[in-house]
Symmetry: C2
Subunit: 211 residues, 2 copies
């Protein structure tokens, strides 16, 4: 019995469609991610709207911060986010500023490990953050769902003790078994739920699989 949480990633949708879709699946998911595409298209009103519609869910604002850390954290925490994301490839002062702002506000940070190397990831191990093994959308399109670009850091990360790990990028019912073997705290699922013919049914299947 694993305490793996499901984070629903909402991308390339209107705010209204994102709320509607989340309502269909809310019984089967734990965290709600306001995707970067919603934030860049609609701004902070996307975060406000999702928090307002789902006040009892953990709301993750996928800000992908890479500079201007305190300002960006404040924007999305003020809008109702519980977790914000920062890129692991940022200069370290940016990541530290996010950690400090989250601690000050009693909020959380997810560090997106996209395109990082082991040397960078080592610096994040002492942090009280969720570390996210992430295969980007653009890499998935080239590699047909393979996760080769994260292989180097993946083998390092899974050796660490007591990490809060998240896994993201093309997660499907076909790949969930491999992901479960990494014992993540959070598995991030987007299109496999949001683009399913029956999103509630798809979400229920994921939920059943990991319980």
């Amino acid at each position: 019995m694993l305490a793996m949480k499901i984070q629903l990633a909402l991308d390339r949708l209107s705010i209204e469609a994102a709320v509607r879709l989340t309502k269909q699946v809310e019984a089967y998911i734990d965290w709600v991610e306001v995707g970067t595409s919603l934030i860049k298209e609609f701004g902070m009103q996307s975060v406000y709207a999702l928090k307002e519609a789902f006040p009892d869910k953990i709301i993750v604002a996928d800000m992908k911060t890479i500079d201007n850390a305190v300002y960006e954290c404040q924007l999305c925490y003020d809008a109702g986010a519980d977790v914000t994301t920062v890129m692991g490839v940022s200069p370290l002062p940016t990541i530290e500023a996010c950690m400090n702002e989250a601690a000050r506000r009693n909020k959380q940070v997810m560090i997106d490990l996209l395109n990082t190397n082991v040397e960078q990831v080592q610096q994040f191990i002492p942090y009280d953050a969720v570390l996210c093994l992430h295969t980007s959308k653009d890499e998935q399109e080239l590699q047909h769902g393979a996760t080769s670009s994260i292989t180097n850091i993946q083998s390092y990360v899974v050796q660490q003790q007591n990490l809060k790990l998240a896994v993201a990028g093309g997660v499907s019912l076909n790949t969930i078994g491999n992901i479960q073997a990494l014992y993540p705290s959070v598995v991030i699922i987007g299109g496999a739920i949001t683009k399913a013919e029956n999103p509630a049914n798809a979400a229920q299947q994921f939920k059943k699989y990991i319980s």
Copy 2:
């Protein structure tokens, strides 16, 4: 006589204040940057509003794309942007997707070299993109305006021929002389104009200095 362009970076402002401020200085500046903070707070309406107010200026959407490249390029080109930014620390497929989408739409890409290394930058030299030497806001706050984190790539970049170079990060009337020595095509100025007591006067001084 250098053909250096001034890009006004609009950050941490309301859309209305950004338009008002740009109106005060438009005679002295060439490119108008819709800053990442405006995009993340207000979404694409920030880009629409600046292009509508300044249809004859080059509008740069500082998207800081690091994934989902085609979608993000389409969002901001559709909103009126002439140039979009992509992070040099992205996986290469993301940067290539931006280059392809810009070529298809007859638009431009600025590659932000924040926290890149020489090996990464070498891959960008053949591209028809503007390369931006960028000291981040968060680094500036720690280093009091020093630009040490870009020293490695700066010495590599300035040796290249026929580059379209931009320089960003804490540019002031005190540092513009050093920046001019790099022969950039674009110098990106934010707070030194937007936070000046008299923005028009500050912009005019920059314009006079580089003409």
